[in-house]
Symmetry: C2
Subunit: 507 residues, 2 copies
């Protein structure tokens, strides 16, 4: 047989990759279904099926066939002739192949079993607020990840290898500088705020019927430009958005009748994620590039919509009367200004996922410093409860009353996800940088928000971020859009300006 032409080899490779994406989409739908109303007696069997399909995907990503595609297509004489999409796809699968191939299969299997065991032990430990129960599992998870880092290699700092998995290009050096700046200016600002008078918030907790909340959520999603022909809104316990393909991006939310903020801001947040996934170029469908480029950039989209739009005064100038009509009588005697102050209350608390936008990055800082310490042998797992509480007190001025609302609150570590947390903070920082860049193209941003004309905002994001999917790395996007690298100053300035006004602080 003669040598295979580049074109037919490329097509074969893309078909192989497409098959993996098909499995991934089927898994995604099963995941969505499990979380939006699958009958409970079918859950175990469905989880087994997700396991079967995931194992198939993993096998395909590490197969000899995959290796052969990578080897053949990486040869210079072939590589030059590949389309840009194929090149990037090859890069992605190669990275994954190498990551997976470097771990001895027996160790990986042991690790997977540990993960699943650790997650259920963590749940038990959290319920009984008993860190000692979880400690041996967390120790093993850290140990495994340290070994993996040795297999994978690292540059500069061992923790960098973990960070890179979620936010390619971000390192400890960068984050140290960023978090130092944040701490330096947010901590004193927070101090001033906690000494100021709190806004009145009791009306936030009055009864707001679920169906009316749903009506408002649908209304806002539509305003944002979310395409209901490419998605749907459902109810769940832990809200998420999921992009199965750009034509099917689903949002989920949770309605709490005694706190409408959960649904309203949750829907806007997930809607921000969904806009990203709905507007990825269809050219990328069938490749691993048809998704957000990183956790941090994804989070920048959800946070931008939630905070820069959803907590914008102009947004409520436009929507407050609708909310008043849909709610009970709770808003009848509340002026817009008071409403605005209430939904922007800043208050140190124990729980990350309930934190306001200003204290949120501080919660992340606690986790970042702990993870960095763990992987550089400066912190031991057994000391985590003490260290956690100390850091919480130092940055937020509060000490968790027990480990359930302290070191045990998040699921991430129990699944072996170390290096993930910083991407949440990066999302805030990116969002503020993007806002600054957007203002150059859309100087009338405030008017657009106030008039409800959000289309130019959505389109700006599509043009600069969404469409590219994973074709551009996060750092590339940031440079192309803002002309600079990661810079927390914009976020800090946003906080200082906004909250000095809301809390009438002397700056």
């Amino acid at each position: 047989m003669t040598q295979q032409t580049t074109l037919s080899l490329e097509k074969e490779f893309l078909d192989y990759v497409k098959k993996m994406q098909h499995l991934n989409e089927a898994i995604g739908l099963m995941y969505w279904d499990l979380r939006t109303g699958a009958p409970k007696k079918g859950v175990e069997q469905r989880s087994e099926i997700i396991g079967t399909l995931s194992a198939d995907m993993f096998a395909m990503s590490t197969s000899d066939e995959m290796k052969s595609y990578i080897d053949r297509l990486s040869k210079p004489e072939q590589a030059d002739r590949l389309s840009d999409v194929t090149k990037k796809t090859l890069e992605e699968v190669k990275k994954e192949f190498e990551r997976n191939a470097k771990i001895p299969p027996a160790e990986f299997k042991e690790y997977v079993i540990l993960q699943s065991k650790a997650e259920s032990v963590w749940e038990e430990a959290k319920n009984s607020s008993d860190f000692a129960l979880f400690q041996p599992y967390l120790e093993k998870l850290v140990q495994f990840n340290k070994k993996f880092i040795e297999y994978w290699g690292y540059e500069g700092n061992r923790y960098n290898t973990l960070l890179d998995m979620y936010e390619p290009g971000v390192t400890v050096d960068i984050l140290d500088e960023v978090f130092a700046k944040l701490r330096e200016r947010i901590v004193p600002l927070l101090q001033k705020i906690t000494e100021s008078q709190k806004p009145e918030t009791s009306f936030l907790f009055e009864h707001f019927p679920k169906d009316k909340q749903k009506e408002f959520s649908l209304h806002v999603l539509k305003d944002m430009g979310y395409d209901f022909d490419s998605g749907r809104l459902d109810e769940t316990v832990h809200p998420f958005a999921i992009g199965l393909n750009p034509g099917d991006v689903r949002v989920t939310t949770k309605y709490m009748e005694n706190d409408f903020r959960t649904a309203v801001f949750g829907t806007i947040h997930e809607g921000g994620h969904a806009l990203y996934e709905q507007n990825i170029s269809t050219e990328l469908v069938g490749t691993p590039l048809a998704t957000g480029t990183s956790m941090g950039i994804h989070e920048s989209q959800s946070l931008f919509w939630e905070n820069f739009v959803g907590r914008h005064k102009g947004f409520w100038k436009n929507h407050y009367s609708t909310l008043q009509q849909l709610g009970g009588q709770q808003f009848d005697r509340v002026e817009l200004d008071d409403f605005y102050r209430a939904i922007n209350i800043v208050e140190p608390s124990f729980i990350r996922i309930e934190a306001d936008e200003m204290t949120y990055p501080l919660h992340i800082m606690v986790r970042y410093e702990i993870e960095k310490g763990l992987f550089n042998d400066e912190i031991e797992v057994k000391d985590l409860p003490r260290i956690w509480n100390e850091k919480m007190n130092e940055y937020l001025g509060v000490t968790p009353k027990n480990d359930a609302v302290g070191v045990l609150q998040d699921v991430h570590w129990s699944g072996g996800s170390f290096g993930y947390f910083p991407s949440y903070a990066l999302g805030y920082i990116y969002a503020a940088q993007l806002k600054n860049a957007m203002l150059k193209d859309l100087p009338d941003f405030d008017e657009l928000v106030e008039s409800g004309n959000l289309t130019p905002i959505k389109e700006w994001f599509t043009a600069h971020i969404h469409q590219f999917g994973k074709m551009k790395k996060p750092i590339e996007i940031l440079n192309d859009v803002t002309g600079e690298g990661l810079n927390p100053d914009y976020l800090i300035e946003y906080f200082e300006e906004k909250y000095s006004s809301i809390y009438s602080l002397n700056r």
Copy 2:
């Protein structure tokens, strides 16, 4: 290497088969999702994924690996040691393997393409009521199936091979006799009915709010013993029930605000299918045996619940007041007796899926005779419109006003499904036979229905039918339960008794 032990070979085989079932369940969920609210812009991509997974399943069912399992496990020294479940599973996959393996791959591929093309042409032909458009495709589909019958072989009559795919054990000889009896006694009965006074039915078509219909549907499903922890009720265009596994069996229905019967009787019908799937022994999960044993037995369950329970006077003695409360004022001046007569109206019509229980088997008879004629070279495709209308007139006394409501009304033939229709009629016949057998164990059947205690009925079906899944063939079930073979007399007697009373006929 030493020879593999039966036990490990058996386990390996069962794992292989389980993998296929996993794919099948994932496909099932995607199918359900597509029909209950999947965003329309994602449909094309999702269909492609269903195609990928279906192709995988097909490949596994005809693979060399499958052949090797079949060959090795079929050897007498192995076969004797297999568990009953494995034996039946082997039988199933062997049957499928042989059916698929006998068709040359190129021909099969051509056929699959034809099927998909024919379905869209049929839709067009139906919309424009233009049989000529569909004719060449139908001719080719028949031609292909004739060739397949030659490959597969047949006994007695070529059409038997097709019948056997849907209702193992049922033949032309059996059906000829059955349909002759039905025709002989139903046609004159229908004649008498059409000459009698029609019940008043206008109130059936008054406005009945959708959410109230849903409430009633949920209420009835619960009464039937449908387990909502193993299922859910959703809305769709063409209602169906789907068993993903016994812990996840979903019902769908359609609400028409100007005819509540669609949702009420549709839900009971699909609920009957669902009870079957929910109560299959969990021991069979992961094998192809964890589903109904045949189309006909499945239909017997849905029809039993729809007609023998749902159109029973006692059922409405129990439920009519609830329906009255939920409906508008349309039932205020309608007595129970009049309501009962209205929902049991018998009226010849053009459309099979809208037919009442008595004319329904006549619609099937038309299709049966045509299919039999086609595969025995006694009827040509080009003559179908004329033959269809003649037979409709002969059995039902009506002549379709065009081919859209005549020969083009059903999707089945466009997908190459010949031999499927008779199973609907068999469902009616089985249901009446089962009712007769049930009365021996539950002589107080009427009182149970009237008092709303439907549990013994459900449990009787589970004990005699549901639990076995495909472990028993339809004919075996019928013999075990009724002590006789297929016998249409019970259905005919049921019709004669019920409708003589409703229409005050002289018998």
